[in-house]
């Protein structure tokens, strides 16, 4: 069965699954972050997404912008670390771009995600190869867009994005960090996967799972 659109309920499910994944993998993310950061990415994301899901389950969103603006604001106040403003901006821009709609089609989601990426770049000033979440988001969205060009099926696009995200994530291992705390480590940051890249890959894994349920 194909998915031409994604509803607010499904997008809520996406965020819930993302929460589940970061929670499940909290120690993996923390381990990654303890190698090249301050060992709080796992707990920060778990806490932040926990707060997001708690909030949307308490008062379910009616529209896409309501959902993502709420999620973004919650992350900003509950994460603490740099992931707060970064993921927060990502979701806020998705919300603003999607507008008060109750569902998105593939081009609509692609445009929203693209705006989210723009927000992350504006906020973090990261470029390709800096060993950040950008190195996952950017190839994932490129793959997503490419898939949307040839098929209206969101599930296909999500799979393509997730595949690219995994590749992007694993490629951060060889990179020298140029942003965030890891950048202080210089050469010593080489050989470790970037924790932000890893959590971003989970975001696409969650999207695949959401759309696979249909």
């Amino acid at each position: 069965m194909s998915n031409d659109t994604i509803t607010v309920d499904q997008l809520t499910d996406w965020l819930t699954r993302f929460r589940d994944l970061v929670t499940e993998q909290v120690s993996y993310l923390t381990e990654l972050d303890s190698a090249i950061g301050d060992a709080d990415h796992g707990s920060n994301m778990t806490r932040g997404m926990g707060a997001v899901v708690e909030k949307i389950h308490a008062s379910p969103a009616g529209t896409v912008d309501e959902l993502f603006k709420g999620a973004g604001m919650t992350l900003v106040t509950s994460v603490g670390g740099a992931s707060g403003p970064l993921y927060g901006t990502f979701f806020l821009r998705i919300g603003t771009t999607a507008g008060p709609r109750t569902s998105l089609d593939a081009p609509g989601l692609a445009a929203a995600l693209r705006a989210g990426l723009g927000g992350v770049v504006a906020r973090g000033k990261a470029e390709a190869g800096d060993k950040t979440m950008f190195d996952v988001l950017s190839p994932a969205l490129a793959a997503f867009d490419a898939a949307v060009d040839v098929s209206s099926d969101l599930s296909t696009a999500a799979h393509a994005a997730y595949f690219a995200a995994q590749t992007g994530r694993d490629a951060t291992r060889a990179l020298l960090a140029r942003k965030g705390r890891a950048s202080y480590l210089g050469e010593r940051s080489i050989g470790h996967i970037d924790p932000g890249a890893a959590s971003t890959a989970l975001l696409f894994q969650a999207l695949v799972e959401t759309l696979g349920e249909e």
Partner: protein, 814 residues
């Protein structure tokens, strides 16, 4: 005036930086709001909080946003998107967090514009850069030609430390009040004039006491501005007063105030912690400075230099391991890890490379190699950052070894000694083992310095301001009298014998506390567990003024049952038949956490659920305790009183009395440890039978200074006039209601302070048994009238130092 928003990962960091900055300007400072930490005590930043902080200090003149690092910058940028009022200019600055904040606060207080404040803040590293000689950026505000000066004066700086931070702030503030452009130059150093509205530039002038500065001014109010500067300089920026001169009799006033001017040339050593001790001098090694640059080693020298590093590191590792083998538990683990750090291949490899490749001397190579590692640790924060002191310790030990100097830090001795140091850091003082360190002598410091306070707490005699102490040969035997400040070097055998006899003398307490004229003051013992009863009995205590019950609960997963408690309480009650025993209900929380009663994750445990407040959460625990006390009291013949810790309101007192009544307990009191209880003591004493002052907490809460923070020791001093006035308030209530008010804090053990407390109206003093003799002796030498007069003078003192020296002058016989 602009507002300042301070964004940091850590509320503590932000608050400390703000406190530091506000010290410079006092009440006239700009509005400052802190946005630090994310929700629920999470380290990090929250863009919404930042936006709220900006709004809070919003002013038409604008808001400057100071940030520490990482997410702070991103959250601040994000916050700008949330702001609604586009009319308020907001500026994010890349200024250094601490120095920049200080510069910004001072400039803002002077009414400078947002742009000017921001520029000043951004240039705030200049003083440090100039000092460390790494100033390679001439864009920063700094020396520049002054205006065409219409008027100028030359004045010599009189205050002890010249143009340091505080005088600079006063100068900037004074000058900003006038329509004039003012510059300052240091005549001694021949430096260029710098603008007098730039604190960082003024600090860079480096003018010291005795230096002449040239002050030039142009503009309509040039003359007035110069007059104001001149007045400030002549008054020594308010740093010339010798406190005590007014209140203290002549013989005492001759003692210079060491707190303010350690370079003062007259005046002898000051005894600050009473007692007599004899022992050989061990000098505290001077702290190591970064090794000076040295010429590059020749290629031939490098191989040997590398070997020296390895040998020194191995020797330090061995010494640490030996030390580890002599201790156990956590201390052992720490020493073992530190020992391993000394020979860490990364560290040694790095140092070796610096010698082999760059020709650095071994000591510089080790210094730099450790510096690199610590900067990474510091950026990482958390557990890694906590290891930095250990790394510095290792570095200092290796470098000392390389230089053939003694290892820094407290001397590692197995035999008793007298410690001589220039000054002691609180951290060093805290590690002193009173069993080995017989006395402390410092060149610097004053009667209320950390050293003095901690030495008194440890019961170690101490003398400060002993200017020539470092000239005494290491190993010389000295006699130190911590009461008079006398130091006898190389004493005769006879003198040593007398002193040893004297120091070993425990002034016996005859069991009846009284003044010279027979005014009765009960002298009681503090008892922390049934095991400490023997010491109290041996010291002839008149009873127990504070029986702490925490021992019953510590190391327990759950509350002990009533039976267990009854048995423990009876052991203490049984020792004092017919005598007073005041038992205090569980005092947990803050520095005494207990798994089953105290809250976790309190942002500020000292202001949290502690003392009597734990009974809100665990009422049954209190009831079981009261029941056990009632049973134990009924079974023994002691005169038992019960009191609750940390009472803040009359209602709590009423509630406690009624709970005690439920168990048939009739003599019920409360502890007065909060300013709230002290100032409502009159109402509280109407519902309870007695009160007992806990001076340690009362000082902490009155002075708003965490007891556990060594840096605040000067504030946490019961001699602080504010604390003494709190005590006076409670004592007045005691006199008015005819109910006894005792003291069971640290203050009661200081003979001099004990006499002041008696003068204020305290009816009993409870202390550690070993202090009873000394307190009894002093009380017997003065009349209650003398105590009252001294108390009246002391509560009006201008500082803790003045209070103590005044008391000594009035109460200690020459």
């Amino acid at each position: 005036m602009i507002g300042i928003a301070v964004v940091s990962h850590s509320p503590r960091l932000a608050q400390s930086a703000v406190d530091l900055a506000l010290e410079m300007v006092g009440a006239e400072g700009p509005a400052i709001a802190i946005a630090a930490g994310a929700g629920d005590g999470v380290t990090g930043t929250d863009a919404i909080k930042v936006a709220e902080a900006i709004t809070e200090v919003s002013s038409p003149d604008g808001v400057l946003v100071m940030m520490d690092l990482g997410s702070a910058v991103m959250s601040a940028e994000m916050a700008l998107e949330f702001l609604s009022d586009a009319d308020v200019p907001v500026k994010l600055t890349s200024a250094p967090f601490v120095e920049g904040l200080m510069a910004a606060v001072v400039r803002a207080a002077g009414g400078a514009s947002l742009d000017d404040v921001e520029r000043e803040a951004r240039g705030a590293l200049q003083a440090k850069q100039t000092h460390l000689d790494d100033d390679d950026d001439d864009e920063l505000p700094g020396p520049q030609a002054g205006p065409a000066a219409e008027h100028s004066i030359e004045v010599a700086l009189r205050n002890p430390h010249g143009l340091h931070a505080r005088p600079v702030a006063m100068l900037v503030t004074a000058v900003s009040a006038f329509e004039a452009t003012v510059t300052v130059a240091n005549v001694r150093s021949g430096g260029l004039p710098v603008p007098a509205n730039s604190p960082t530039a003024l600090l860079g002038v480096g003018a010291r006491q005795g230096d002449t500065i040239s002050v030039a001014a142009a503009g309509r109010q040039a003359r007035e501005a110069l007059d104001a500067v001149n007045a400030l300089v002549q008054r020594g920026f308010g740093e010339l007063e010798t406190p005590g001169a007014a209140a203290v009799p002549e013989d005492c006033a001759a003692r210079p105030d060491r707190e303010r001017s350690s370079e003062a040339s007259s005046g002898g050593p000051i005894g600050v912690s009473p007692g007599l001790a004899v022992g050989p001098i061990v000098r505290m090694p001077e702290p190591l400075a970064e090794p000076a640059p040295a010429p590059e080693l020749t290629l031939n020298e490098r191989a040997e230099a590398v070997e020296r590093i390895e040998a020194a590191a191995a020797s330090v590792a061995r010494a640490l391991m030996d030390k580890a083998n002599r201790v156990s538990g956590a201390a052992r683990e720490i020493l073992e890890v530190t020992s391993m750090m000394a020979t860490d291949p990364g560290l040694i490899g790095d140092a070796r490379a610096r010698v082999t490749d760059d020709g650095h001397t071994p000591e510089r190579a080790v210094w730099a190699a450790v510096g690199d590692i610590t900067s990474i640790f510091r950026e990482q924060g958390g557990l890694l950052a906590e290891r930095i002191p250990d790394l510095h310790d290792v570095r200092n030990r290796i470098v000392a070894e390389l230089l053939g100097r003694p290892a820094p830090g407290l001397p590692d001795r197995a035999e008793p000694y007298v410690l001589v140091a220039r000054d002691l850091a609180p951290a060093d003082t805290a590690l002193i083992d009173p069993a080995l360190c017989r006395a402390i002598v410092t060149v610097e410091g004053g009667p209320t310095s950390h050293t003095a306070i901690l030495a008194r707490a440890l019961g170690v005699p101490a003398v400060v301001a002993a200017r020539h102490a470092l000239e005494i040969r290491e190993g010389s035997v000295v006699i130190v009298d911590g009461t008079t400040g006398m130091i006898v070097v190389d004493p005769t055998d006879e003198q040593v014998a007398t002193a040893e006899q004297e120091s070993g003398r425990v002034v016996a307490f005859d069991g009846t506390g009284r003044t010279l004229d027979g005014h009765r003051v009960q002298l009681l013992a503090n008892v922390a567990s049934p095991d400490s009863v023997a010491a109290a009995l041996e010291a002839n205590a008149e009873g127990v003024g504070l029986f702490r019950t925490e021992f019953c609960f510590l190391d327990h997963e759950e509350a002990p049952d009533v039976e267990e408690q009854v048995a423990a309480y009876r052991r203490v009650f049984a020792a004092f038949p017919g005598q007073k025993v005041i038992i205090r209900t569980l005092d947990a929380g803050a520095d005494k956490p207990l798994a089953f009663v105290t809250a976790e994750d309190e942002a500020n445990p000292a202001l949290g659920i502690r003392g009597y407040r734990t009974a809100w959460r665990s009422p049954k625990l209190l009831d079981s305790q009261l029941q056990a006390i009632a049973i134990a009291a009924a079974a023994e013949a002691a005169d038992v009183g019960v009191m609750a810790p940390m009472i803040a309101t009359v209602d709590e007192s009423i509630e406690f009395v009624s709970r005690c009544a439920d168990h048939g307990l009739r003599t019920v009191g409360v502890m007065i440890e909060t300013p709230a209880a002290a100032i409502t003591a009159l109402d509280i004493l109407q519902v309870v039978d007695f009160a007992s002052l806990g001076t340690n907490d009362l000082a902490q809460y009155t002075m708003a200074a965490d007891r556990l923070a060594g840096e605040l020791a000067l504030l946490n001093d019961p001699w602080q006039p504010a604390v003494l006035r709190m005590i006076r308030e409670a004592c007045r209530a005691g006199v008015a209601t005819g109910k006894p008010v005792g003291v069971c804090g640290e203050a009661a053990a200081d003979p001099l302070l004990a006499a002041i407390l008696v003068g204020l109206g305290v009816t009993s003093l409870s202390m550690s048994p070993r202090a009873l003799g000394g307190v009894a002796e002093l009380l017997k030498s003065v009349t209650v009238e003398q105590c009252r007069d001294a108390a009246a003078t002391v509560v009006a003192a201008s500082s803790a130092t003045v209070a103590r020296t005044t008391a000594a002058a009035l109460l200690v016989r020459a």
